[in-house]
Subunit: 276 residues, 2 copies
DNA sequence: CTGGGCGTGGAATATTTATTCCACGACGGC
DNA sequence: GCCGTCGTGGAATAAATATTCCACGCCCAG
């Protein structure tokens, strides 16, 4: 029973545990690697889970997780768990308590800011869930699924959303073209018959986006608008209108709801097109 | 089997649990009273202890504690424990499974998809609030506030985040340079002494981002990593590490938590710099 | 006192959970 | 292309843990 190249003693603190984890990470076979990843991402759950639960989370059989514990230097899962159970400090039982705690820090502290953004995002999502216009969404999907190339238009704050859409659509093999953002390039001539435009803008609305939408609608191309309210200047040019309620924190917008909407749109369009 | 004067259903939340506890406290025989006292004082240990351990703590035999659980309305200790384990970290282990089914099941009406993305975002944000590392966040802010130009590195999925950061930082008059994303330009030579790098990447990690971080750290520049887990290859090059838990489904990631973190970072850095 | 009900502890049992073990299969070196 | 090694998953087993059950004794009412 030689201790080949493995460290014999088990980590005694959570910190040691992390180090050990990083240490072994590189040369680990597939399944054990999965364990390491999952455990690293969910360390806090070790204390309150069973082998079976963690193994399921990591998508490995329990025996793999068992071996993993041993490689880390523990005699088995129980020993590893004991480490985390002992170190278990009540943490923060539930979301609202924790949020209060974060906010309580001096105003403007990074943690307090984080709390505000998290809350803003959550509120936005909740509102979106309540008041989403399903009909408009379905219409938008139909339009985009039927079109040739999709033109994604979004400047400034909307650019992160449109660029993400471009990425996701590409993954789904949907032809899409990203306009706006960096190079201020004029792609107007790229609009071709059969194409559709997905225009994204929020107050204060960007002129370029509105013009693009206007141009497309003048040429008879369908325009899907993703914007903040029904009074948006985009509305007059749009064939389908999706509004997302976004709660701002100061001048800063969380984008959570917008991205959720954009993703739903993208995936729906992607699957609809696959079928065709 | 009459339910004399006892409430039949078990508490469903920690709050309900506390109420129930206070409610029964008064008329309780000696041993059960001891249980109640001990449990009230050590509620947080329930999630990570065995019946025997808690019983020992309360100085009662296990069977007494057992009866106590039942009086509270639970079927037994296990059920009570489950309440606290779930409260500690809400189960999204089965979440990715849910999304898989959604795709496989061909179900996805656009509205259903939207609901899923909303839920994923909400979950991500809550988890972020619970397990954010305040210390690391503060460190990251200090580093970035003290630096010259900030280099934002994020390809693919991370690009929306870094581009949003670029936008916000510009608004706050913080000198920042956006790398990666579209033009595949090599900006490596742009790194200058006194600068700092904010690198963003998630599994599967993009090679370019890691190289950039490596380069910076080799030159002695501080690197802040915004990534998904502690096993990220970015970790070895980073001066400060921020991890965000994001419910993730192939290419479809809600990004809510990531953006919340990024925004908090940007605003904190912006205000810190103003003061200087 | 004395009988009945209730609280009690501990021992027996059921159940869950961890851990070991081994046969199979892939992979790489010879 | 064969053999040895190593990774793997699942089934068998061991251990821990929860849960039930019952006999005893205290206390109070009659």
């Amino acid at each position: 029973m030689v201790e080949t190249d493995e460290d014999m003693r088990a980590p005694a603190t959570v910190e040691e545990f992390r180090l050990r984890l990083a240490e072994v990470l590189d040369d680990l076979p597939r399944r054990l690697r999965q364990c390491a990843d999952y455990i690293a991402a969910n360390t806090e759950r070790i204390a309150v889970s069973t082998v079976a639960e963690l193994a399921a989370g990591a998508e490995v059989p329990p025996s793999a997780l068992m071996r993993f514990c041993q490689i880390l230097g523990f005699s088995g899962f129980s020993e590893m768990q004991r480490l985390f159970r002992d170190a278990y400090s009540p943490g923060f039982p539930d979301y609202s308590t924790r949020l209060k705690n974060l906010r309580a820090g001096e105003a403007g502290s990074p943690a307090a800011l984080l709390a505000e953004f998290v809350e803003a995002g959550r509120l936005s999502l909740e509102t979106l869930a309540k008041q989403a216009d399903e009909e408009a969404l379905t219409r938008a999907v139909d339009i985009l699924a039927a079109a040739g190339t999709l033109h994604l238009v979004g400047y400034r704050r909307a650019f992160p959303v449109s660029s993400y859409l471009a990425y996701v659509l590409e993954k789904m093999a949907v032809p899409a073209m990203l306009h706006g953002g960096l190079g201020k390039l004029e792609h107007r001539h790229a609009l071709r018959p059969g194409d559709a435009v997905l225009a994204i803008t929020f107050a204060p609305y960007s002129e370029e986006t509105i013009q693009m939408a206007a141009e497309a609608s003048a040429r008879g191309l369908p325009v899907v608008a993703l914007t903040d309210r029904m009074t948006s200047p985009l509305v007059r040019h749009a064939t389908a209108i999706l509004t997302v309620p976004e709660v701002d924190f100061g001048a800063f917008r969380s984008l959570s709801a917008t991205i959720a909407m954009a993703m739903a749109l993208a995936v729906a369009v992607g699957t609809a097109r696959e079928v065709l």
